[in-house]
């Protein structure tokens, strides 16, 4: 059973995290709310799929793919540059904790542990890019057919 409090906490965390990040990169004000929602959905996928037995890497890919597709749709509908939404799609799955753990391990000269944490973080980043690319690719195929 998934505790509702956890879900709310994560949804709110990714929503506000992405909105704060959007404010830092100064995205247009009307884009703040949709980008927060996209980020929350991406994080929800990323968090829920592993609970259903899917690997974390695949979950990152699926989350980013969804975020990328939604981002392209929102960007076309609202006539806003798509960078804004693509960025908020990848921000919640940036492996901040993994990278920090890698740094901490390397700082304490635990090279093996640090390297394995680093490789894990790198795979997540690669999956993020892959999800983003697949979404953009789908968008181009669909859009160019019209």
């Amino acid at each position: 059973m998934i505790p509702a409090a956890d879900v709310l906490c994560y949804l709110a965390g990714s929503f506000f995290g992405a909105i704060g990040f959007g404010m830092l990169t100064r995205i247009p004000r009307r884009a703040l709310l949709p980008s927060g929602i996209i980020a929350a959905l991406v994080y929800l996928i990323y968090w829920l799929l592993p609970l259903a037995g899917v690997s974390e890497y695949l979950a990152v890919f699926c989350g980013c793919l969804l975020g990328s597709i939604l981002g392209h749709i929102c960007a076309r509908r609202m006539r806003i540059i798509n960078t804004v939404y693509l960025m908020s799609a990848i921000v919640p799955v940036v492996p901040g904790l993994g990278l920090y753990r890698m740094m901490a391990s390397l700082g304490q000269e635990q090279m093996h542990q640090g390297a394995s944490q680093g490789v894990q973080a790198m795979i997540i980043i690669a999956m993020t890019a892959l999800g983003l690319i697949m979404g953009s690719y789908l968008d181009r195929i669909i859009h160019e057919k019209r």
Binding site: F16, G17, V91, M103
Partner: protein
């Protein structure tokens, strides 16, 4: 006067149709200076140029500069080079330029009108960001701390640290730091302060605080641009954005790695 439709000429140079070229240059420059992708700058030049009725509009941009060339109505070939120096992130500005470009491409704006509107956008760039960035960094850090299993104590602490790091970065930007010192200091403060605070607050989840407070420093725009430019086949710009993201990450990590010896020093253990 020989210039373009609304030709304004520089003294001693009566062959250049300045307004069209200036509008194209300014549009592309604004996009690249504010964190837009390179392909977007190139596409904007092409669309706006065609909207002005120019022929054979070509542009080539890399993140540090751009080349524009076109043929005027009289059949003259004109070319320009512009170097892009200052780099910051303001996606609202990129979006505004994009809006102007759309209207120009639809034939709604003359070169003069486009230039006037672009200059208005450019003037906004000179205004400072003000203190709005401090709460932005705090919101960002606080939100992500919850994702890293932190509670309210951790979130509040990382919000404070993120705002402090952002403030320090803005102070360093005033003395023309190109982002090097601010990232090192940011990484150092983010790793140092939670570790010190852990001595005062029992049971503090240090790594949640650090990872949360690091999030505002993540080069999100550079990462997105690297993917987008590479995807469009612009490998040079993709690599360039990717390198920029990697360098930011390395600087932050370097700063953070300075923290453990400093902590030992502060706690009286010697280096």
């Amino acid at each position: 006067m020989q210039g373009g439709k609304a030709g304004v000429s520089y003294p001693g140079d009566n062959t250049v149709s300045v307004q069209e070229m200036e509008a194209l240059q300014l549009a592309a420059q604004l996009i690249m200076e504010n964190g837009g992708e390179t392909f977007r700058a190139e596409e904007t030049v092409r669309r706006m140029g065609e909207g002005f009725g120019l022929q054979q509009v070509e542009s080539f941009a890399v993140p540090s500069g751009l080349f524009i060339s076109y043929r005027t109505e009289e059949g003259r070939l004109e070319t320009s080079v512009r170097r892009v120096h200052h780099r910051s992130t303001n996606l609202t500005m990129v979006d505004s330029v994009n809006q102007i470009s759309r209207e120009t491409a639809a034939g709604k704006l003359s070169p003069k009108e486009a230039l006037v509107r672009l200059r208005t956008v450019s003037d906004l760039q000179k205004k400072g960001t003000g203190l709005r960035m401090l709460p932005a960094a705090a919101i960002c850090a606080g939100g992500f701390t919850f994702l890293f299993q932190g509670g309210w104590t951790e979130a509040l602490l990382s919000m404070g640290i993120a705002a402090l790091v952002q403030g320090t970065g803005m102070l360093l930007a005033r003395i023309h730091d190109p982002g090097i010192a601010s990232n090192i200091v940011g990484g150092l403060l983010t790793a140092l302060l939670p570790a010190l605070a852990a001595g005062w607050i029992p049971g503090l989840i240090t790594e949640a605080v650090v990872a949360g407070a690091l999030m505002p420093l993540v080069p999100g725009v550079a990462m997105t641009n690297a993917v987008q430019d590479t995807l469009r086949g612009d490998m040079v710009s993709g690599l360039s954005h990717g390198t920029s993201a990697l360098m930011t990450a390395c600087l932050i990590a370097g700063g953070a790695l300075l923290a453990p010896p400093l902590i030992r020093l502060i706690q009286g253990g010697g280096l």
